[in-house]
Point group: C2
Chain length 379, copies 2
Amino acid sequence: MKSALCRKLGIEFPLFAFSHCRDVVAAVSNAGGFGVLGAVAHTAESLEIDLKWIDEHVNGKPYGIDLLIPNKMEDKEGGLTAADLEARVPPEHRRHVASLLAQHGIDTADLWSAGQGGHDYTDNMREGGAARLLDVAFSHPIRLFVNALGVPPPSIMKRARDKDILVGALTGAKEHAVKHAKAGVDILVVAGTEAGGHCGEVSTMVLVPEVLQAIEDYKDIHVLAAGGIATGRQMAACMAMGADGAWTASVWLTTAEAETTPTVKKKMLAATSRDTVRSRSRTGKPTRQLKSAWTDGWHGESAPDPLPMPLQGLISRPALAKIDKLAASGHEGAQRLATYYVGQAVGLMNTEQSARSVVYDFMKDYADAAQRLAGTLET
Amino acid sequence: MKSALCRKLGIEFPLFAFSHCRDVVAAVSNAGGFGVLGAVAHTAESLEIDLKWIDEHVNGKPYGIDLLIPNKMEDKEGGLTAADLEARVPPEHRRHVASLLAQHGIDTADLWSAGQGGHDYTDNMREGGAARLLDVAFSHPIRLFVNALGVPPPSIMKRARDKDILVGALTGAKEHAVKHAKAGVDILVVAGTEAGGHCGEVSTMVLVPEVLQAIEDYKDIHVLAAGGIATGRQMAACMAMGADGAWTASVWLTTAEAETTPTVKKKMLAATSRDTVRSRSRTGKPTRQLKSAWTDGWHGESAPDPLPMPLQGLISRPALAKIDKLAASGHEGAQRLATYYVGQAVGLMNTEQSARSVVYDFMKDYADAAQRLAGTLET
């Protein structure tokens, strides 16, 4: 495709694939799209291993990474230790989680033992932890660094620029988009409410043209549409509205390569678009995820209000890790509780395919859609 | 535009405009689109007057009407009179409404006097009342009858067919769309959660391709995308995804012809896409509307849960009628409370224009979008 963004990044097709799975990242870049490794849950060591692996598998094709770095590094929790944070979790919330799991036949005796939640990556969202990950990332030939919490701090912007790495930022509201544009990001990922994970309230269909209108004076910025996109025709729809490409995430979760657990993958393949919920039950901020006994358990009359970020994560992570482990061993209660971030596009994800084949389907479907639309202009 | 739907209806451009205002309906049909009169709040007499006026102003151009008729005429409220229904409204809810208005400086002494809510059109949503409106409608050259509550009852379907009138139905979920297709509707209006008025949870970007996939075996059915569409580029986006046209409503509310009150029109022109809320506070079912002190008043901690339909309407109608009247006379509290149905597209509605000029803008913007997209295919 002939486009300024494709030229800038050296890609054929402006389909951006966010994934925690290095196999997906490499497969998408190899197929002509642009893979972006979600690295917030990595350690510096595991990131080095994954980026090295990607370098060895993309034959020089471009790829990027995605982190969550607050613009202001003031760090509300100050110098609080993990133990300080743990102490702030009300007993009522721990009881609610334990009772929810117990209702579904899960033994919760060791629920709060250390290590149940896996690696705690809260530190990656602070300046020090993020800098360690960036040191690793910047030692590899990444072409794009995306910050899922808006504009990254100026120091990081500068480091990226010095290495000719493009900087992207996620946004779910027009007002934020304008701030990001002023701060000089290269790529704005404009995500509608139908997106999986953290999401705002405005739909992709409205937010994309609204943001494009608001930032029309910033000529060098590229807009990627996100939220709900799992097919080439939707990507074409967004580009008809003026976006420069599509940012996708959910659609890769049901690919053969994905890290998604078998239980959750099966649920996703069966789900309709109405089987997601925007809920604070996972991180403390609204995230869209698959409806399950876990999310239902936070929306009933007797459920406590979820805790603010990062406290809700301290109780959801160990519980969901335990649920995933038991679900994998066939535990039916755990299978009912199992959930993961996913957008409403889950209703369009009905077959397991390789990531490469998803990219090729996108390309064909995109071309068909563009031709269908052009056909309506014939008189 | 060359399309089966345009041929069938004898129109140039498949832009459908739902409006309660006959001037908008006629202007859109005259400009090459298709106007649809929202008639649920009409009496048989006022409908006769409006349709006669439209006939005199459209020069034979096609138009349609929209009603709300339940498929099953069993009528949950049985033979309940208006007084029976009034008696079912809990005193707590009346107190809440009166207190909300009083907080904003409105004298509520005559709030519940008869006639405050204007004409009560609940009867239009039952078989008898709807039949009277249809008798009027079918005596005019309408080309389309749309039912906003899904498939109309078989008796009405037959009456429409006998007169070669197309039948349309609104839907906000894939499962319902399949039922409507099986029941034989000609046009499915697939409305995303960003739509004004009654709306589901799934976004237009996801719902349109999901429904198209689900009904692909029904070759004769036409799909109109709805929800969030206020520009030609969004219409093009939906048609790139495979829709046959766009169904719009909010965008007409800020036209020069619209019946919208000056207070609400001014609020709409200033609003961003985040200034709407999906709330049960107006009809008892979730409807998207402009955020205001009224909607806020139903979402606070101390607010009672809104009543089910049709009871909530019995308390919201008189209150909102009073608010609109006072707002028009400059009452500041009433102006804060004033609200109306509108979709997230309100963020794209920034200037007051004539309905005709909106249609022409759509046409130009549509063509530009289709060409932009076709341009990406060039190598």
